[in-house]
C-alpha cells in the first residue's frame, strides 16, 4: 500500500487495483438472498473482523523500527499519523479526547469517499457510505489490540467526504 514500508520498490501493487478490491469487498459482503437488518449487521461484523486481522498485521510491519509506546495517547497519536499515512496517504485531521479513554478521530477528506457521488439525498448517500467504514474501524481496532490496548471503535459519517471514528478504550 505504500512505498515507505518495503525496501524493495519492485513489489508494489497498483493503487487502482486496491481501490477496486475494496469496493467489491463491501459489495460482496452485503449481497445476500434476504435483505434483513441482521444481514447488514452480519456483513458489517465480517468486514470489521477482516479489518481487525489486517490491522494487526499492518501495525507489526510499521512499528518494526520504533521504540515502545509510552501510553495509550501515544499509541492513538501514532495511529493518527504514521498508520493513517501508510494506509490513506494523509493524516487524521482532528483528534479529540476526554482524557478518560474516549478519543474522536476526524478525517475531513476520507480517501475512499473522494469519488463517491450519487444523485440521491445526502442522508441516503451517508447511509450507503457507512458500510465502507466497517473495514477501517477494524483496522484501527486491530492496530490498537496489537499495541496492547483493547478498544471498541465506532464510525460515523454525516456528510461525505468527512467521517469520524470514536475509540473507546476498555478499562484495565
Amino acid at each position: 500500500m505504500s512505498a515507505i514500508l518495503g525496501q524493495d520498490d519492485r513489489r508494489l501493487v497498483a493503487e487502482s487495483a486496491f481501490d477496486l478490491l475494496v469496493l467489491e469487498m463491501v459489495d460482496v459482503m452485503h449481497k445476500s438472498p434476504t435483505e434483513t437488518e441482521n444481514d447488514k449487521e452480519a456483513a458489517y461484523f465480517k468486514l470489521e473482523s477482516l479489518g481487525y486481522r489486517v490491522g494487526m498485521a499492518m501495525v507489526e510491519r510499521i512499528t518494526r523500527d520504533r521504540p515502545r509506546f509510552l501510553d495509550t495517547l501515544d499509541a492513538v497519536k501514532f495511529i493518527c499519523k504514521d498508520y493513517w499515512i501508510a494506509l490513506f496517504k494523509k493524516q487524521i485531521d482532528n483528534l479529540k479526547t476526554n482524557h478518560r479513554g474516549v478519543y474522536v478521530l476526524t478525517d475531513n477528506n476520507f480517501r475512499w469517499f473522494l469519488r463517491m457521488s450519487s444523485d440521491g439525498s445526502s442522508a441516503e448517500i451517508s447511509r450507503q457510505a457507512f458500510a465502507y467504514l466497517a473495514f477501517p474501524c477494524g483496522l484501527i481496532r486491530g492496530a490498537l489490540a496489537n499495541l496492547g490496548v483493547a478498544s471498541v471503535v465506532i464510525a460515523e459519517v454525516s456528510t461525505i467526504p468527512q467521517c469520524t471514528f470514536q475509540i473507546k478504550i476498555a478499562k484495565a
Binding site: 487502482s16 481501490d19 477496486l20 469496493l23 463491501v26 459489495d27 469519488r115 463517491m116 457521488s117 450519487s118 444523485d119 440521491g120 448517500i125 450507503q128 457510505a129 465502507y132
Partner: protein, 165 residues
C-alpha cells in the same frame, strides 16, 4: 470555435450521458444565439435532445450513424492496427468519435473549424469517467450516469478546453 454537445454510449448501445452546451432549437422564432452559461444535461426519459427530438430518439439516431460509419471505415481500410473512424465534418458541425477497448463510445459535436478533439476525449475518459464512474461504488455500471462529481468535473474540463467559447 465552440463545443456543442457530448454523448456517451455504453457497451449495450444505451446512452448513459448527454451534455449540451447550446439551447435546443425548437421553433424558427426562438433566439438564435446560445448563452455560454446554458447547459442541459440528463438521461431522463422525457429529456429533450439537441435538435428538439426526445433524447432517446436522438441518441438512437446518433448511435446508428456512428456505428454504420465505423463499420464502413473498417471494411474499407485494409491496414491492420489503424484507428478507423475518428471524425466527420459537414458545413454545420464536426463530429468526433472515441471508442475505448471496453466498448464505451464518446461522441462530441463541435463547430466545423475545430481541431481534433481525440486527446480531449481520451483525457475525459481516463480522468473523469474512470475516476468518478468506474471507481464510484454508488454508481451502477451499465446504467445512466447520475453523479454530481462526474457532471461537475466534466463541465470544468470542457470549459477549460481551448476551443470552448
Amino acid at each position: 470555435m465552440t463545443i456543442y454537445n457530448l454523448y456517451i454510449f455504453d457497451r449495450h448501445c444505451k446512452c448513459v450521458s448527454f451534455t449540451s452546451w447550446t439551447k435546443p432549437r425548437t421553433t424558427a422564432t426562438s433566439p438564435e444565439s446560445s448563452s455560454p452559461g446554458d447547459v442541459t444535461q440528463g438521461t431522463a426519459k422525457g429529456a429533450i435532445g439537441a435538435t428538439g427530438m426526445s433524447l432517446e430518439e436522438e441518441a438512437k439516431l446518433v448511435y446508428g450513424v456512428v456505428f454504420s460509419l465505423r463499420n464502413l471505415v473498417s471494411k474499407l481500410n485494409a491496414k491492420p492496427g489503424s484507428e478507423g473512424f475518428i471524425s466527420y465534418r459537414t458545413n454545420a458541425y464536426k463530429l468526433h468519435y472515441f471508442e475505448t477497448p471496453t466498448g464505451l463510445k464518446f461522441v462530441m459535436n463541435t463547430d466545423p473549424h475545430m481541431d481534433s478533439m481525440r486527446d480531449a476525449l481520451r483525457m475525459m475518459y481516463s480522468h473523469i469517467y474512470v475516476e468518478y464512474v468506474t471507481k464510484n461504488p454508488l454508481q451502477r455500471l451499465d446504467g445512466p450516469i447520475e453523479n454530481e462529481l462526474f457532471r461537475n468535473n466534466l463541465q470544468k474540463f470542457v470549459r477549460s478546453l481551448p476551443g470552448f467559447e
